[in-house]
Each structure stands twice: as C-alpha cells, then as structure tokens.
C-alpha cells in the first residue's frame, strides 16, 4: 500500500517579517532557516526577497524602513473631544434616568454579535517550545472525524440551541436561536416549566458567543480582566516583535471578553487547533478559568489528544463553578472510552445515566451498545 507522507514541499505555516529578518541576519536554527527556504522555493516573491536581503547592509536598512510605515489615519483632536463630550452626556443620561437592573441588561456590550470591522484583534502566540510540544503531542493522536466532534453529536448542552435537546422529561419551550447574548439562567426549579428530574443547573449568568455558552466573566472576575499580550504575542498593529519593542513601552493587553470572542469564533469555525492555542495562552495567565478549561478540553478531545482533554475536563467536572459539570463529565467519559476502552468508561457512563441529566439518554445508549 502506498505510504502517504507529510507533504515535504509545503512550508508549515505562513512566513512572518520577523522570520525573514532573522533569516537575513543569519540567525535561527537550521530548521528555522529551512522553513524560510521552503517558502522561497515555492514563492518567487520570497525567493527574490531573500536574494536581496542577503546583501550587505540590507538587514539594518530593513529596520530603518519601518519608520516609513504609512499611518493608519487618526481622528482629529476636535473629533475626539466631541466624542468624549457625547459619551459623557450620553452616559450621564443613561445612568441617571434608567432603572439600574435594566441598565445592566441593555447597556452591556453585546460581545461577538458580529465581526464588526474595527474590532481590536490581538494575536496570541504560544511560546515556541510550548507550541512545538503541542504539535508533537497532536501528531501522536488522530483528530476525530467531524461527525464525532463536540458539537456534531446531536444536541449539546453548551450550545445556544440546547433547549431543543432530547431530554427524557417534558421539554421546556424552545427559545429562538441565540446568536450572542448575555443572559441570566435561573435554576430549573425556580421556573414554572415542568419539573425536571435532572439536577438543577446553576444560576450563573451566561454569555453566548457564536452560539456557544460561556460563564459570564462577571461571575468569574470582579472586573473584566485583561490578558497581557506582550510576552509572546505581536499586536496586529506591529510588523513584528522587534517593531513592537522599538515603538512602545506600553503593556499591550486584550480584554478577556474580546479574547474569548476570537477563540470562540475559531471554535465555531472548526479551527480547533487555533482555539486550543488561544485558550492555552489564556490559561497561562488564568489557570483556573473554567471557560477556557472547558473549551480547551473539547478542542483537545476533537484533536485526538485525549490525555490533555482528560486533564482539562476532569478539572472542569470538579470545578467550583458548576456550569459545565454535566458536559465535562460526558466528554471526560468519552475520552476515557477512547483512550482506555469501553470497560474503563462503563462506570462513568453509568453515573451519567443515573444522574438523569442532559446526557443521560446518550449515556444509556452507550451502555446498551456495550452489552
């Protein structure tokens, strides 16, 4: 049988100006240099560029060239002053006249409602060593086929449309699909809906990004936290890290909600690796973040890295924030089933079935299949 190999003609990723500059200066390991050269072999522009950048004086002149970067166009001082005035008046009006509880529901930013042009996007990059280790880890496993991935196995509790799920009890009325919305979920027993035998879901305030459920950051942190991006990431406004360091001393940060919006967009688009890398970046700074742990667990599961998925999901199913307990237990059991076999997972599925929660029917099906 013919052996398929990883395509030796294709570079592993896009080429950054930082890579080119390091290459021109004769820096980088042989492997890094080979990566740039692979680009040169397949792209005439890169080929000619490195011909020129090898020439004496080119690397230094390239650094000088950055001074000529076109401005992005900035609003005039009058416009800014006018904007500030409008905001002050508008906010004053809103705060003074509106009901405080309604204010909370209406004025909070609707995060991720759409990809508005003008959104600040900061690219998170894992340290090279961590990234490489992840790649090696993933190369050992095998990504799951799409129809077996999280979110593709029928109804899911963490998706906006989960109310349509086949819960064995009388279903609650099905709400319209939610694109992106901050909502308060009250305990099941406090509503007039038919009583469920399933354990009550927590009353945490939720946030839906790209139809995916998250615990609202206000439930996790006193203020929307900011991630420090300087360490490994290059804000999109800079050509590379060198320019960033040269241009600014300020700490580049990204809002938690904006960051999660990007990560969830990747998840929704099926980019599990991109999402996992973003969430690992976040977990470096907020190791106990339940949103990141849960979705990182799902990504790792889908990518076939079951050991990593187990680590994340196990923490989620025992997390003090109980929002994802059911989902985490279900996917943790599936990880165990895939990595250690059905016998090892049997007790876990049995427990899920007996809990009579959202995944009970699916867990029973698993148990029946194994008989």
């Amino acid at each position: 049988m013919p052996t398929r190999i990883a395509d030796p003609f294709s570079p592993r990723g896009p080429l950054t100006s930082e890579q080119i500059q390091r290459y021109a200066q004769g820096e980088g390991s042989p492997a890094e240099r080979h990566e740039v050269e692979l680009h040169a072999e397949s792209d005439p522009l890169v080929r000619e560029a490195i011909d020129g950048l090898w020439m004496p004086g080119a690397p230094k002149a390239l650094a000088d060239l950055r001074k000529h970067r076109p401005a992005k166009g900035r609003a005039s001082g009058w416009l800014i002053a006018g904007g500030v005035l409008i905001v002050i008046v508008g906010l004053g009006w809103t705060f003074l006249r509106s009901d405080p509880s309604a204010m909370d529901a209406t004025s909070r930013p609707i995060i991720g409602a759409k990809n508005e042009p003008g959104r600040s996007i900061v690219h998170a990059t894992l340290p090279d060593t961590q990234r490489l280790a992840l790649k090696v880890e993933l190369a050992k496993g095998r990504a799951l086929p799409k129809d077996e991935q999280a979110g593709h196995q029928g109804a899911e509790h963490f998706m906006a449309a989960h109310a349509a799920a086949p819960v064995r009890n009388d279903p609650e009325p099905v709400p319209a699909p939610i694109a992106s919305l901050a909502v308060e979920v009250r305990p099941d027993h406090s509503t007039d809906a038919p009583t469920s035998l399933a354990p009550p879901r927590s009353s945490r305030k939720l946030l839906f990004l790209h139809d995916l459920e998250l615990v609202d950051p206000s439930e996790l942190y006193p203020t929307d936290p900011r991630l420090v991006m300087n360490e490994h990431a290059v804000d999109a406004r800079f050509a590379d890290a060198a320019e960033r360091d040269h241009t600014t001393d300020e700490q580049v940060t990204a809002g938690y909600s904006d960051f999660m919006e990007q990560a969830m967009a990747k998840f929704a688009q099926g980019d599990r690796l991109g999402c996992l890398e973003d969430l690992m970046f976040l977990l470096d700074q907020f190791p106990d973040d339940v949103n990141a742990l849960f979705y990182a667990g799902l990504c790792a599961y889908d990518l076939g890295s079951f050991a990593r998925a187990e680590r994340y999901l196990d923490r989620v199913q025992h997390h003090t924030i109980d929002t994802y307990h059911e989902e985490a237990a279900w996917y943790y059991a599936q990880c165990i089933e895939r990595s250690r076999g059905p016998v090892a997972a049997r007790e876990l599925f049995d427990r899920i079935a007996k809990a009579n929660g959202f995944y009970a029917v699916k867990a029973q099906d698993k148990l029946i299949d194994r008989k």
């Binding site: 240099r33 904007g83 042009p117 600040s120 406004r237």
Partner: protein
C-alpha cells in the same frame, strides 16, 4: 417594573450601545490599539479602494520587507531600495484604483520588479541590466502533483532526476536540510544548490504529472 419603565429602557438601548461603541473607538484611538483583521490581500485592496486607509498599513506590514528585498536584489543600494518601497506604497492607492488586481501578491511583485528595471535602464546606455535580472520569472503553477505524491511515487520520481538535482532534492526536501547544510554535504555552492532545487522541483512535478496522465 412597570411597562412605562420597560419602554423607556427600550428607547435607551440604542444610546447605551452607541455609547459603548464610541467608548471602544476612543479607547482604540487613544491607546493605538489599531485594528487589523485576518482578511485576504484582495479584501484589503477592496477596502483601500473604498477609502479605508488602515488597509494600506496592513499591506505594508505584509509586503514592505519582501519588496525591499526585491529592491535590494535589483538595485543593490539600500537607500534606493528603501525609496522605491516608500514610493510604491505612496502611489499604491492610485495604482489600485486604476488597475483591476485579481491577485495582489504576484501583481505587486511584478510592479516592484518593473520599477527597479526602469531605474536600472535610466542609468544610461552604459548601465546594462544583467541578463539574469531580465529573465522571465517562473510562477510555480499547479503543483498539486507534488503535494499529493506518495512516498514511493516521490522516491521513484527523484531517482529519475540527474545526480545533482537528486542529491539536493533528497537533502533539502526529504531530510529537511537548509541550503547551507545541503551545500556543505554536496560540496556545491549555495547558488548551485538553489539552482538544482528549482530545476529539480520543476522536473519532479513534470515526472509526477506524466505518471498521473499515464495512469488515467
């Protein structure tokens, strides 16, 4: 809460949302958290044509260093190469309005190269442009056959290359050695290695395509 209050808050919603957006915009203006989206070159061109000047900076970030390298290759002068890049970007909005650009990358490469050649030719009759700079540049074309080859098929195709190409292709592509490592191992110069690789890659593609045609 009475229905009057509910209606009142509904009226306030746009105000609150607008406030938030304005705050965000001001935050970006003051903190210089400028926006770049992961969009294609062609989409940036479209945005630039509709007056979005930040797109020009985004294109600069993607191409200025590469075009500077091209300028250096042809002009062999850091100041002239820098000027050429700056002038090209200054005229880019006008150029893009006048020309319909389907694929930005090869287009901007050609524009830069042509401008460099024009400068060299303006040097006077004695300023002869070296032949290798005038050679037509080969675009990679459809390389699907290369990317889809199995190991056995690739090995068989490599065996059909001449000795120099075989050695360089094996070391560079299959053993992932850099140009200089390949040059060291083969005793060739880096330039010779690059030439063997370019010709070897083209020949491999032809061999693999021929094989695919025969099997149809």
């Amino acid at each position: 809460m009475g229905s009057g209050s509910w209606q009142f808050n509904l009226v306030l919603l746009p105000t609150a949302t607008a406030n938030w957006r304005l705050l965000k915009a001001i935050d970006e203006m003051f903190l210089r958290r400028t926006v770049i989206e992961n969009i294609s070159d062609e989409a940036l061109v479209e945005r630039l044509n509709s007056g979005h000047h930040a797109s020009l900076a985004a294109l600069w970030d993607r191409y200025a260093h590469l075009l500077f390298g091209v300028g250096m290759k042809y002009l062999k002068d850091t100041e002239r190469a820098k000027d050429m890049v700056v002038e090209l970007f200054a005229s880019l909005p006008d150029l893009l309005r006048k020309h319909e650009v389907k694929t930005f990358r090869p287009w901007i490469h050609t524009v830069m190269r042509n401008r460099c050649l024009m400068v060299l030719r303006k040097g006077g009759p004695e300023a002869r442009v070296p032949d290798e700079l005038l050679r037509d540049h080969e675009e990679p074309g459809d390389e699907a056959a290369l990317h889809e080859a199995t190991l056995q098929r690739l090995e068989a195709a490599v065996d059909k290359l001449n000795e120099g190409q075989q050695e360089c292709v094996r070391l560079f592509y299959l053993e992932r050695k850099s140009y200089s490592e390949t040059a060291e191992r083969t005793g060739l110069s880096v330039e010779q290695v690059r030439s063997h690789l370019q010709n070897g890659r083209r020949n491999l593609r032809l061999i693999l395509e021929r094989h695919a045609d025969q099997n149809r």
